[in-house]
Symmetry: C2
Subunit: 157 residues, 2 copies
DNA sequence: ACTTAATAGATGACGTGTCATTTAATTTAT
DNA sequence: ATAAATTAAATGACACGTCATCTATTAAGT
């Protein structure tokens, strides 16, 4: 067994740094659109799964766990999405993009594309795949594995 | 140029997921010690660089940027560290571990070692090195590159 | 039918990180 | 020597995520 944890410790901080750096980058790209990276994630999910419930959204979100009441609350206030009580079971709230939310979506796609392009300038296609495989290994048997699976980012996708 | 951003998008969410999963794991390990991952980072830095100033701490921290006044404030209240005004230039505040902070440090080391051991059970030594190289590439010419360098996690360390 | 259990979501309280501003101390310029 | 500029840290305001608790609605058990 390894008793030298230097590389492991380095990995820990690299993951933190890369996540924060990427988030800052995306935040800047999204700033002029007036949304945060979390907003962008919600809007993207809603675009691909209209009329989802709050609970289902929570199951799909990577940026937050538990029920995203607070995040949704803010986005409703910002007129990005709207809450609609379910007809059959009024415990559920179904979420939908507003016209404003739809407008933002097309802008978000462009901002994200810029970031992904930048990433592809640093990593070759092979490197990106290898990195994804390596990172995926760390999520085996964690709640995130299922989230990513349901989002279409599973191992064999 | 790639127009298919699927892998890049997957990478984005994998980084977020891995960071959050790792943070949750560490948070649980540290819970019984009564400190957070951020606390652990500060304590580790202070152990290796006694009598550092608040500003220098800010330069070294990965978990937060800017001046970590708030983080330090809470840790002082928790009696983990103490503030000492610099004799020569009383604008500066020098930070030092309290006896309690020192006690926590030895426990933190053990908790972190458990996590690093777990990581080493998932990754081979080679995989870990490759991952670190890959992640490091993303931080080229970013503020984090310098932080990691100063922390002893530079490219050739 | 009525009571109890389970479920979805909302809410209060809290810890946390960030930014802009303010305060205090030192350095520089005149 | 004095005034202005610079610097370190503290502080107020705010956005965010998490947890425990509460409310409302539906389902299950008797």
């Amino acid at each position: 067994m390894e008793k030298n944890f230097k590389e492991a410790e380095k990995f820990r901080y690299l993951i933190l740094a890369v996540q924060r750096q990427g988030n800052n980058l995306l935040k800047n790209y999204l700033k002029e659109i007036g949304v945060t990276p979390s907003h962008a994630e919600v809007i993207s999910i809603l675009k691909n799964a209209q009329s989802i419930t709050l609970k289902e959204l929570g199951r799909l979100l990577i940026c937050e766990d538990g029920s995203p009441s607070r995040l949704v609350e803010r986005m409703v206030k910002d007129q990005l999405i709207e809450r609609v009580r379910d007809e059959n079971d009024s415990r559920f709230v179904r979420l939908a993009l507003t016209p404003l939310g739809n407008e933002k979506y097309s802008l978000i796609i462009k901002a994200e594309a810029e970031m992904y392009t930048m990433l592809q300038q640093i990593y070759t296609s092979d490197e990106l795949q290898i990195s994804n495989q390596m990172l995926s290994k760390l999520l085996t048997d964690t709640p995130f594995e299922q989230k990513l699976e349901e989002r279409g980012f599973g191992v064999n996708k």
